[in-house]
């Protein structure tokens, strides 16, 4: 389903078409435009009339049912808690705030999911193309299994495994000091805030600004014929040394806030709930299978001659992949990967089945508390539409940058 979905505007051929000069319009064509215009205006009017009829019907029926409609409820107090949140939220805050929490949780899982599934997809794609038969077969079976089991089942499977296989809080597994694995989540220590961290952050910023400058300087020297031996190493050093120096100068403050069992639960530190973990596992493993196929298709789509020529020039296999094949494959890969990312974002709504507090779950609770069904569903639709359009725009921009530039 993921790859077939329409969308992913601007395919690989888009660039060529856009660059071609427009052919002169044949003389007879101008007159034939007008009926087209009439039809289009008529079509727009019909769509508008239909929308109006739908709104009128809904409004009339809601009025008849004496249901109060409108979005005013968003400012009322929401009488429910949500398990996890990126921003402070508690019962008694407004419904609007609850929706913000939901959207942020959706974004969190979508962002991490897209990142992880793309990386895993790349690894699996390369594995499938590897000369090692065992590795290729393992990767192949992974793809076949992961993409042919419905995502909803995978989510429920991971959630069940995580809550059933891991021990309860009082018998938590602790593989490393301060790290606890339980069926209520993974508890990790976080560094305690220290005044020196401000200086370290400033140094890191300075490093981030310095690194591109060093990179450019190396490139300029290379162009002038004075080649620097390891430009990448110098750049990395410029990036990492300032914050490291600042950190060491401050006496390397490494106090961490370790989670501690207090009362019923671990308090302090960072908690990764089983719901989030199950979502990430499910979404990543499922989508990575599709991504692996997309990437494999992209790599195989680069003519063999390119690889052979690069090898003939004496490039090593990894460098052939990195410098010759992947940049060309990217053009084939980007449009379908866009679809895949869009699907992942939308499929995160399945989280409602395992109680991860994302947008749909917030909307469902709000719906039962307030009865504002149409409003809640419209909010879900609007948010997913906006998220999808942003993702799509971003990847289209990348696609435009990656396309073949005729020189």
């Amino acid at each position: 389903m993921a790859v077939i979905d329409a969308g992913g505007e601007g395919g690989a051929g888009h660039g060529a078409r856009g660059d071609a000069p427009r052919p002169a319009r044949p003389p007879g064509r101008r007159r034939r435009r007008r009926p087209g215009l009439v039809a289009q205006v008529l079509f727009l009017l019909v769509v508008a009339a239909l929308a109006w009829a739908v709104v009128q019907t809904a409004a009339g029926n809601l009025d008849r049912l004496s249901v109060h409609s409108g979005y005013g409820f968003l400012w009322e107090k929401a009488p429910f808690e949500l398990g996890e949140s990126l921003i402070p939220y508690k019962a008694g805050d407004s419904y609007l705030r609850a929706f913000e929490v939901g959207v942020l949780n959706t974004l969190k899982v979508a962002f991490l999911g897209i990142l992880l599934s793309t990386l895993l997809g790349l690894v699996v794609a390369l594995g499938q193309l590897s000369p090692s038969v065992v590795l290729a077969r393992v990767c192949r079976s992974y793809v076949e299994v992961a993409r042919n089991v419905p995502l909803l089942l995978q989510l429920i499977f991971w959630h069940t495994v995580l809550t059933r296989a891991l021990p309860p809080v009082r018998r938590a597994l602790s593989p490393v000091e301060g790290v606890y694995l339980t069926n209520r989540g993974v508890f990790l220590p976080v560094p305690l805030d220290d005044p020196a961290y401000g200086a370290v952050a400033a140094a890191a910023l300075a490093g981030a600004l310095l690194a591109p400058a060093v990179w450019l300087a190396c490139r300029r020297r290379a162009r002038l014929g004075r080649r620097v031996a390891h430009p990448l190493r110098w750049t990395l050093a410029a990036l990492l040394l300032p914050p490291l120096a600042a950190f060491l100068a401050a006496g390397a403050p490494l106090a961490v806030e370790a989670p501690q069992l207090r009362g019923f639960n671990f308090v302090g530190g960072l908690t990764v709930t089983p719901e989030l973990l199950a979502m990430l596992l499910g979404l990543t493993i499922y989508t990575a299978a599709f991504n692996a196929e997309i990437i494999r298709a992209g790599i195989l789509g680069v003519p063999r001659g390119q690889t052979e020529a690069a090898i003939a020039l004496g490039l090593t296999r990894p460098r052939v992949m990195r410098l010759v094949v992947l940049p060309q494959a990217l053009r084939i890969i980007l449009p379908p990967i866009t679809n895949s990312c869009l699907n992942l974002t939308k499929e995160s709504s399945l989280a409602v089945a395992i109680g991860y507090p994302e947008l749909v779950r917030v909307a469902n609770v709000t719906l039962t508390q307030t009865g504002q069904a149409i409003e809640c569903i419209s909010i879900i639709m609007l948010v997913y539409l906006i998220l999808s359009l942003i993702t799509s725009a971003l990847l289209n921009w990348m696609n435009a940058r990656a396309r073949l530039v005729a020189r």
Binding site: V38, V67, N265, G355
Partner: protein
């Protein structure tokens, strides 16, 4: 091109007409009681996964307390308890299903609250089941009171009124908790028994049902404190005064039948032999109460013969004659110290 546009225009016009007519049908005023009689079938929204409350078994048979209310309603209105079409609904689906007209009666242990009744345009009948919101905890946690649950993780059914009551109560007592929400009660109890949460919150009868079916019932304690009272009641849409009257008096009638000692076993006999004017009026031998309400005059006889009086219905599904054995408690008759009471049948 023009031909295409015209065709599209016609198609759209046809679609608009369909919507228009749907609107006309939807806004048609009229009492649902008449619609049900004309249709010859009652549409009832309920549960399909809670034995004793609403359950669809492997033979396709519906049973349970909430299911019986709809069967009784069909017996009262149509004279046949089998003329019901049941639809299983989730918490998020139930009110839209009622508002859209997909079902006539929602009998799904819905809790009556003022905001639901006034803001959503609903009419609650009854209440036919009085309970509250309680907690079940692992015995090993050593908790004896709800106040001991500060900081606990609590499993809660997503999209139910219990979520709101839970948050309200903890807020009022300055305590905190982490919710672990589940989409359905099977999932919720499985999470609780796996120790994903310290406590699970629901109405005590349902907690008792699940505890009785767990691997080790002795390892779980149902706390005595109830954090909220719960009026569970069947619901219909506002705007059908006749249907509301029939259902409300049918519920009171079932309570009255228990008071009068009329059971499914002796109802026909009482109708033939009783000299008590109240019983004779109740069973439709004298007077025209049923007729005046727009249902068969012997409607209460039909109801009692189909599902029994209130006590029979409770005992068979939830009480002493069921596997659950939930005590009558508040649901006992007023004269037995409970809260079930009905206006007089004069």
């Amino acid at each position: 091109m023009i031909r295409k546009a015209v065709a599209a225009g016609f198609a759209a016009a046809a679609l608009a007409c369909t919507i228009g007519s749907a609107q006309a049908e939807g806004t048609g005023k009229g009492d649902l009681l008449d619609a049900i009689k004309a249709r010859g079938e009652l549409h009832c929204g309920t549960l399909n996964y809670l034995p004793g409350v609403g359950f669809l078994d492997d033979k396709g048979q519906w049973s349970g307390f909430d299911v019986d209310f709809c069967k009784a309603a069909a017996a009262a209105i149509l004279g046949d308890a089998s003329k019901v079409r049941f639809t299983a609904l989730t918490g998020a689906q139930m009110f839209p299903a009622l508002q859209s007209g997909e079902i006539d009666i929602l009998s799904r242990s819905v809790t009556d609250t003022i905001s639901r009744e006034t803001k959503l345009g609903l009419d609650f009948i009854g209440p036919n089941h009085l309970t509250g919101q309680g907690f079940m905890v692992h015995k090993s946690a050593g908790v004896t009171d709800v106040k001991g649950l500060d900081g606990a993780t609590i499993c809660v059914l997503a999209g139910t009124v219990t979520e709101g009551y839970l948050a309200d109560w903890f807020r009022a007592h300055g305590m905190s908790f982490t919710p672990a929400a589940a989409e359905n009660s099977d999932q919720m109890f499985s999470m609780y028994f796996d120790d994903r949460c310290d406590a699970v919150t629901m109405e005590p009868p349902y907690l008792a049902i699940r505890r009785s079916r767990s691997a080790d019932p002795a390892a779980h304690v149902i706390l005595k404190t109830l954090i909220a009272k719960s009026f569970e009641a069947p619901v219909i849409l506002e705007g059908s005064p006749k249907l509301r009257e029939v259902l409300q008096w049918m519920h009171w009638g079932m309570v009255t039948a228990e008071e009068l000692g009329i059971t499914s076993a002796n109802a026909a006999q009482m109708k033939a032999g009783s000299k008590d004017p109240v019983v004779r009026r109740f069973l439709g031998v004298e007077g025209t109460i049923g007729q005046d309400m727009g249902v068969p005059n012997d409607w209460m006889l039909q109801v009692v013969e189909a599902v029994g009086n209130y006590g029979e219905m409770y005992d068979r599904n939830l009480g002493k004659d069921s596997k659950l054995g939930v005590p009558r408690g508040m649901n006992a008759l007023w004269r037995d110290g409970g809260a079930m009471i009905a206006p007089g049948w004069q």
